[in-house]
Symmetry: C2
Subunit: 282 residues, 2 copies
Amino acid sequence: MRQARAAGQTIGIVPTMGSLHEGHLSLVRRARRETDRVVVSIFVNPLQFAPGEDFGSYPRSIRRDAKLLREAETDVLFLPTEERLYPSGFSTRIEVDELDEVLCGRSRPGHFRGVCTIVMKLLQASLPDRLYLGQKDYQQATILRRMVRDLDVPVRTVVCPIVRERDGLAMSSRNVYLSEEERNWAPALQAALADAKRRILAGDWSSPGAVTRSVKSRLRSGPGNTEYVELLHADTLQPVRVLEGELVLALAHRLGGARLIDNVLIRVPRERKGNSERKVKR
Amino acid sequence: MRQARAAGQTIGIVPTMGSLHEGHLSLVRRARRETDRVVVSIFVNPLQFAPGEDFGSYPRSIRRDAKLLREAETDVLFLPTEERLYPSGFSTRIEVDELDEVLCGRSRPGHFRGVCTIVMKLLQASLPDRLYLGQKDYQQATILRRMVRDLDVPVRTVVCPIVRERDGLAMSSRNVYLSEEERNWAPALQAALADAKRRILAGDWSSPGAVTRSVKSRLRSGPGNTEYVELLHADTLQPVRVLEGELVLALAHRLGGARLIDNVLIRVPRERKGNSERKVKR
């Protein structure tokens, strides 16, 4: 990669855990359009799995992945071993405080520490110009963008839209854990988010609490268990008190053997608020 | 720096907190000899001072420092502001576990986290080929070398020997805190370390505990208070059970308004042990 950089070529990296689907491939294609050399890493990172999570059973399909990446004109497939990345005596970790205390951070202790540490290693090893991340893992993308900013890493973070199945379910390597029945119901998650967004923009609700209560109540009638539904500021991931500005509505739902996450970005114009304030002042 | 790198030039960085002395300048000169572009940063990093430490009173002498650096043919003096390095919302930190639990890490909670975080930022901002550190801050150099290795940062860490005053006192920006009387006694620290090294190599002691007890006892007769005397493995900073291999003997001593640190590296040949083992086997 040093040679490519010295020759003035730009480098894009797409870090993945493999078991690739159209979501990953959309990142690879975007990198292909925007940079000269496309690096894709595949590594199921033990550091980001808590004990009891699905590290051992996480789907792996290297041959198929490699074929898909060739078809997408990937220049470099980086397939490191655990020994290469975490040699004996490895003891460094990167933490992004506060942003990791909400959403998935509550139930996955150490998860984002593991994500930050591995992604920083991949950035250092390949020195890319652009880092491609998916919006599906919204908290992950937000934390990594903050890490990159805070540590002055000379890379531009590009967050790409969620890619969905025809029926609306967000693509995920973990969707294979679903039974047929569960799979049939799963698009309800996205439908609940999309509906809530529509109603927020229509001014149906007066508080963030009303939104999340409504989404939770709707999901309660289906199978599985909702782990969280949160409506937060899109950059800081802090709770919001009023329904305005850049928001993210995100959820996690356990369904059979899968823990599914999904989210939607909502930009609520401040105009309405501004108008009403002006009225008050008059 | 990107241009310099693109032109095939090598970059060396010397991170400092200013108040420069011959110790710092020895790093700058080494960088000058070994790299094309020498970057020196001066930043009194609030993140590495605990509450109650000397952040406010730490000596600052920017004009004098700049003159010394010009004389040493420094190419770039990086003088960042706190706002530039730690903007609002800054929340990322780097920790190196275990190595920070001994020596100065015991009494300076958060210190090495602050050191790792700022040095990582400086490395990212300047993308140097070589990072120059002083052996005087032995634990710091060891932790940073580990961080660089663990995170795959493409930089070579160069640790330079301690520079001492004529009477043996290790140079430090904090030596100015000493009264005349304290300053006169201070070389006793280095003398105790040098003497212990001589006696270890002569085989005078049978255990690490005997060494550290002897050094502590010797210092107890002087002014101030010894914070620690530790004999550790030079790379892992783990306690050693036998006097062999690569060792570091390090101490911290509070003397008036100063907290002085010093250390000595000791390589004890394993040969002797090997011989005795062979004897046992026969």
